[in-house]
């Protein structure tokens, strides 16, 4: 197992390098003088000269890439001139908030989605199946940002169950309860689409598995229906559900950008949008590379989980 993990980590290196190249290349498309673009309206001739020196901006593109990559590996993502702080500090702080939001949503959609899919398959063509199928269709069709706004209107403004926005109360203690209070609505709104997708896939994966010979064997043994569904069928279906969870994690992370906007959640999505509008190029570049790298690592975890689940995968 240790060797398998190591092998997967090594195989991620070319992907990470590819990601850095792509991000760098996209940012190099910015027209005009890079130093002025980065510094924006704050540019004084001295600043420009300094930045050119630091980032090697006066050198050819390839050299610039290697200088940037060298800094990147050392954890130096440059400095945000708007915020006047190191990009990495800002990114880490914001990513933490995103992780809380997206992580919660991911756990929610995994459990709810799989449960809904399993129940739907077990009751195929029954009332529960129809109800779930309809809810899923609605769930995957509603834009998460619109859903979030409607939730604010109903549950925060009218029913006053949850605060309208933010991550912490403006006054008052910052404890776990305050966090849960603020987290519930955005996490749910973020989870809805992925829940629908996962439910759909789990349903068809379950139906596929339930027709297999080993299910008939389990029935011939006299296993109760509950055991058939949850122990035999779900276990086998998980093999095709897990990779989809990995993909959906990417969608949850992406959806967080909208949800953070709707609920004024101080996450990395908000940071990126603000940075784009303020033309804070280094912050965008650093944020994108950092999150993409985290996602690659997350997918390794998914692969490892898959190999733990399926003894047939050679490790």
């Amino acid at each position: 197992m240790g060797r398998y993990i190591l092998r997967r980590l090594l195989s991620a290196i070319p992907v990470l390098i590819g990601i850095s190249v792509i991000v760098f290349a996209i940012m190099a498309m910015i027209p005009g003088d890079p130093a002025t673009a980065i510094l924006g309206s704050y540019a004084t001739p001295e600043n420009v000269a300094e930045l050119n020196r630091d980032l090697g901006l006066d050198q050819p593109l390839v050299q610039r890439y290697f200088i940037w990559l060298g800094n990147l590996v050392q954890g130096d993502l440059g400095r945000s001139f708007n915020l006047n702080r190191p990009v990495l500090d800002e990114v880490l702080e914001r990513f933490n908030a995103t992780l809380i939001l997206a992580g919660t949503a991911f756990i929610l959609c995994s459990f709810l989605g799989i449960a809904a899919g399993v129940i739907s398959a077990a009751r195929q063509y029954g009332f529960a199946d129809k109800a779930i199928t309809f809810a899923v269709l609605l769930g995957i069709s509603i834009p998460s940002f619109f859903l979030g706004m409607m939730m604010i209107l109903i549950f925060a403004v009218n029913l006053r169950w949850f605060p309208v926005s933010g991550m912490w109360p403006i006054y008052g203690t910052r404890d776990i309860w305050a966090l849960i209070d603020h987290l519930t609505m955005p996490a749910l709104a973020l989870a809805v689409v992925a829940t629908g997708v996962i439910a759909r896939l789990s349903r068809s994966a379950m139906l596929e598995v339930l027709r297999q010979d080993f299910i008939r064997t389990a029935r011939a043994k006299g296993v109760r229906e509950r055991g058939i569904i949850w122990r035999h069928a779900l276990r086998a279906a998980m093999v095709s559900i897990i990779p989809v969870l990995g993909i959906q994690a990417g969608f949850v992370l992406s959806g967080a950008v909208y949800i953070e906007r709707v609920f004024q959640w101080p996450g990395i999505g908000q940071m990126l949008v603000d940075a784009i509008l303020r033309r804070d190029i280094l912050l965008v570049q650093g944020g994108v590379v950092f999150v993409a790298a985290c996602y690659v690592l997350f997918n390794i975890i998914v692969d490892v989980a898959q190999s733990l689940l399926d003894p047939r995968i050679k490790t």
Partner: protein
């Protein structure tokens, strides 16, 4: 294509989606000529007019602009941008995919590596990076969304192209000296085009949503121009005071995306042939019972297991397959009965019907009875059936790899078999599992118990299957071709094992096979099945010595020795009749060399021709078994 459209039309939800989408597109096209207010004229005194007011059907926004008009123009813009993005992504993605798949080798490798890296991004990060580089704006958002979706198309189309690039007609074109460009345009493209169109139609909703999303964030369309996303984005600040300004564009996005999703689902279903036959139905816990006649004759006191006029059918669409058409069997204690026939004769379905294990839908028990110790099992409550399964009547299946759970160790599966029926501690059940493995002569049972099925050989797996059947000391074991999937030497070992077990434990075996050699070695009595009915029945010795039914004789002639391969079955000319249209009279008539006119008339009964012999033929090979 017509069939496809018909199928699509039959799917009502998809049709609804199509109609809604058509209406929305029509309205968007007609927007410029409709009598609408100017969407960009501000009128601050009349801001936030509620819906259904005079002169403003949907009210006005924070600048007093007419919402209905803005909605129509916004929808038009959103649709245009979404379709454009889908078109660009599809075109570029398909081009990359075709080149990659057609040329293969190095080109393919490099391109696909690049595509893999692009797909390693959470999609929105890439889109944000592109917008950051190009600057906010609707055109740039469109480019970003299209670019992000290129890898998806490239990968899909490449897969299809690889499949086509090595077909004969492409090779032929190459030999004819056509240039690569020409081959791609005339041979490849027409074949991948439908896939491109379908992939596009299923992603266009997504593109609309994504561009709307970027506009919502303020990175797409810039004021005063507004698509649905930026309308929603602008309305956000007035969400609490004037929710209608948010509801109008939000609901519109919902309607569009849902309509496209419905349509996309319909397209997918229409394209997936497995769904057409209803094959993706899950089997119910027990076979459905719909007896239109009264149950068969009542139980015979002495039989351990008795089948009486058992009928099982498969209902697939409008067709009805009579897999089992009135089977009578009796198994006495201590006996081994062989049920023999070609594949498709209904022997396995008969075996599975006993404990309600025929997949249902589409299977249905439509008549007759099964008695276990005089107790009716057809139509019995599920809980009774379940408690008998594995405890009193156990099964051994044909393919031990497919019939064992791939993700649990054989030990866990044996332990479960024990603990389903007996409330014993896990450790005890495990000890019992090891005992069971020893009793089926698996060496190193203590180690093997922790193996997964894929770590064992076919023969070992089937031993596990047998051990599992023995887990609760059942009265009856139904072995459904347990040796067919194994090679000849292993077959012999498994048969010896079964024979020993039956002598040691006195367990009754119903042995399903197509192989007379196997029957000769194991069974006391034989029933020969053809087209869902028993055609001959008797003791093994009698039948082997003098087969009465022409079919039996031919079947026996095919298999000279133990372990005959499947190949020999083809030695009987012709095929068994399709069981959804059985001929009148003898089902074997078309293949029988003794066929005469009377054979095709009326029902031919199973007649006694001796104390233990019965045959269903008007001209049997032997008239009477000597007493």
């Amino acid at each position: 294509m017509m069939a496809f459209l018909k199928l699509l039309a039959r799917n009502q939800l998809a049709l609804a989606g199509l109609i809604v989408m058509g209406l929305v597109v029509l309205l968007a096209v007609l927007t410029p000529i409709l009598p609408l207010a100017d969407p960009d004229v501000t009128n601050t005194p009349a801001r936030f007019t509620p819906p259904f007011s005079e002169g403003a059907l949907l009210g006005t926004d924070h600048l007093g602009r007419d919402l209905l008009s803005r909605l129509m123009w916004g929808t038009r813009l959103s649709l245009a941008v979404g379709f454009a993005a889908a078109f660009i992504a599809a075109t570029i993605g398909a081009a990359i995919g075709i080149i990659s798949g057609y040329y293969g080798g190095r080109t393919d490798n490099i391109i696909m590596r690049f595509v893999d890296v692009l797909m390693a991004f959470p999609y929105i990060l890439l889109a944000l990076a592109i917008v950051a580089a190009l600057g906010p704006g609707l055109m740039n958002a469109l480019i970003a969304v299209a670019a992000v979706n290129i890898p998806f198309f490239a990968r899909n189309i490449r897969g299809i192209t690889v499949g086509i690039a090595h077909k004969e007609f492409v090779d032929a074109a190459r030999l004819a000296g056509l240039s690569d460009a020409k081959i791609i345009l005339t041979e490849i493209l027409p074949n991948v085009l439908p896939v491109i169109v379908i992939a596009m139609s299923t992603t266009v909703g997504w593109m609309i949503l994504e561009t709307a999303g970027l506009s919502f964030l303020g990175l797409g369309s810039q004021p005063p121009q507004a698509d649905l996303g930026s309308m929603l984005g602008e309305a956000r600040s007035a969400l609490i005071t004037n929710p209608h300004t948010s509801l109008v564009p939000g609901v519109m996005i919902l309607i569009i995306v849902m309509a496209i999703n419905l349509l996309g689902d319909g397209v997918r279903d229409a394209l997936d042939p497995r769904l057409k036959s209803g094959a993706l139905s899950r089997p119910l816990p027990a076979t459905l019972v719909a007896r239109d006649r009264q149950p068969g004759e009542t139980a015979d006191g002495t039989a351990l297991l008795q089948l009486s006029q058992l009928e099982t059918q498969f209902h697939i669409g409008p067709r009805i397959y009579r897999a089992v058409g009135g089977v009578d069997l009796q198994i006495q204690p201590g006996e081994c009965l062989g049920l023999i026939g070609e594949s498709g004769s209904g022997k396995s379905v008969t075996a599975l019907s006993i404990m309600g294990l025929v997949a249902s839908p589409p299977g249905k028990i439509t008549g007759g009875s099964v008695y276990y110790r005089g107790e009716e099992l057809v139509g019995a409550p599920y809980e009774l059936l379940r408690s008998l399964r594995g405890r009193k009547v156990a099964y051994i299946f044909q393919d031990p790899l497919a019939s064992l759970h791939p993700l649990y160790t054989v030990g866990d599966q044996l332990i479960e078999a024990v603990r389903v029926h007996r409330n014993v501690p896990k450790a005890e059940a495990r000890a019992h599992a090891i005992e069971l493995l020893k009793s089926v002569r698996i060496p190193n049972a203590e180690d093997r118990v922790d193996n997964y099925p894929h770590e064992m050989s076919g023969g070992m797996r089937q031993r596990v299957g047998i051990a599992m059947a023995l887990a609760n000391d059942p009265d009856v074991i139904i072995a459904d071709e347990p040796t067919t999937a194994l090679d000849v030497t292993v077959q012999a070992q498994i048969l010896t094992l079964l024979d020993d077990l039956r002598r040691d434990r006195g367990v009754v075996i119903l042995f399903i096979t197509h192989d007379f050699g196997v029957v000769a070695q194991l069974c006391d009595r034989v029933a020969v099945m053809y087209a869902g009915r028993i055609v001959e029945q008797g003791t093994t010795d009698e039948i082997l010595a003098s087969p009465a039914h022409p079919y039996t004789r031919r079947l026996m002639a095919c298999v000279p020795e133990l372990g005959g391969g499947r190949r020999r079955l083809e030695a009987i000319p012709g095929l068994p009749p399709v069981v959804d249209k059985l001929p009148a009279g003898c089902a074997f008539a078309d293949r029988c060399d003794k066929v005469r006119a009377a054979c095709r008339e009326g029902n031919i009964t199973l007649d006694e021709i001796g104390a233990t012999r019965r045959v269903r033929c008007i001209a049997p090979e032997i008239e009477e078994v000597p007493a």
